[in-house]
């Protein structure tokens, strides 16, 4: 550890207060590749929790399988690392068992839109009060760069050596179409904006999804000649448009752009609240009958 000034002062903790408070330092540094965007997004989540002042005991982090899912091991909350694609299913159980808990699902694009696609749309339809943060790197990084449902058409992967034929999923749009009451998109580059979006998503009562564009320099970047991690972050900086700007642009102009910001927010009854109301109503009816 070095200090910026001439004389080196010795400190026992060699990390920022935020990391010291919300991460498990014995597991750091993470196994993620150099320049991986997941670390930036994990910090965004910790910062959002810090800004909201949530207690570590009443916050649950649930993750599935994949690069992104490692986050549950690094974050010092009540965490659970579940089976592939089923993070939302586990989170639904936790939320219903104790609705006062703040349940945050940290997941990847393949985990949530391919293997767990059904769980995503039905949790969104139910409007259950989970916050889902998607670390969307457009590829299956952990298993070696196979194309995922969010790999753009024509992009390359180890299983798409001549270019991907399928059209890509817009995860935020998919969840919003399925009934999610809060859908937003952030990016690894736009740290403060993404932190705010996650923060608002946690505060929102209902199913909130924040689709965060991550970067995968090792597989997606290398297969598609996107350059280094720095080049990929610069791409995000130069090709992002806000929702307000996007409203003024034509479809042609929006091609290849990343629309970031709050895409959609409505309010309708949250599932655990509606469930509680149902139980109360039935109890009252039974008492009246007796």
């Amino acid at each position: 550890m070095t200090v910026d000034t001439g004389d080196v002062s010795v400190k026992t903790k060699n990390m920022s207060n935020l990391i010291y408070k919300y991460m498990r330092p014995e597991h750091l540094p993470q196994i993620w590749c150099p320049g991986c965007g997941n670390g930036i997004i994990m910090r965004d989540i910790a910062q959002a929790i810090e800004n909201l002042g949530l207690s570590r005991n009443s916050t649950v982090i649930v993750s599935g399988i994949g690069c992104s899912a490692r986050a549950a091991g690094y974050m010092d909350f009540n965490t659970i690392h579940t089976t592939h694609g089923r993070a939302i299913a586990f989170a639904t159980g936790i939320k219903l068992a104790n609705p006062s808990l703040e349940v945050i699902v940290v997941t990847g694009d393949g985990d949530i839109s391919a293997i767990g696609g059904n769980h995503l749309i039905h949790a969104a339809r139910r409007n259950i009060g989970l916050t889902v943060v998607v670390m969307n790197n457009n590829i299956y990084g952990m298993t070696g760069g196979q194309y995922s449902p969010t790999t753009p058409t024509g992009a390359f992967g180890t299983t798409a050596p001549y270019g991907n034929l399928d059209r890509s999923f817009d995860i935020a749009g998919l969840a919003y179409g399925a009934g999610a009451s809060y859908a937003a998109r952030g990016s690894a580059y736009h740290v403060q904006q993404t932190t705010t979006l996650i923060q608002e998503g946690i505060k929102h009562r209902g199913f909130s999804i924040i689709d965060v564009a991550s970067i995968c320099p090792t597989y997606y970047g290398r297969k598609n000649k996107k350059g280094s991690a720095v080049d990929m972050l610069k791409w995000q900086r130069d090709n992002s448009v806000t929702v307000d700007q996007a409203a003024k642009m034509s479809q042609e102009e929006l091609k290849g752009k990343l629309v970031i910001g709050l895409l959609h927010q409505v309010n309708y009854p949250e599932f655990t609240y509606a469930y509680d109301q149902l139980i109360r109503r039935l109890f009252e009816e039974r008492e009246e009958n007796e």
């Binding site: 550890m1 070095t2 200090v3 910026d4 000034t5 001439g6 004389d7 002062s9 400190k11 060699n14 990390m15 920022s16 207060n17 990391i19 991460m23 750091l28 540094p29 993470q30 993620w32 590749c33 150099p34 320049g35 991986c36 965007g37 997941n38 670390g39 930036i40 910090r43 690894a188 580059y189 740290v191 403060q192 320099p217 280094s228 991690a229 720095v230 972050l233 610069k234």
Partner: protein, 73 residues
Amino acid sequence: MKKVLMINQSWCKGCGICAAFCPKGALEIVDDKVQRKEGTECILCGQCELRCPDYAIYIDENEGDTDQWAKSY
């Protein structure tokens, strides 16, 4: 309370994100590790801390010694 720039080289993987987005060009990567560049000025803006995926660089509040000021570097 004075702020100082802290670097934890054992966590640094040398991706170069901090150096690329430093508005003052005050960081450089040498042998896959980040370090302060000689003769440059750090304004303690914290852009490096926001984007470091490995939490290896950060701004810390340093109590006491007022001489420990990044600009003196």
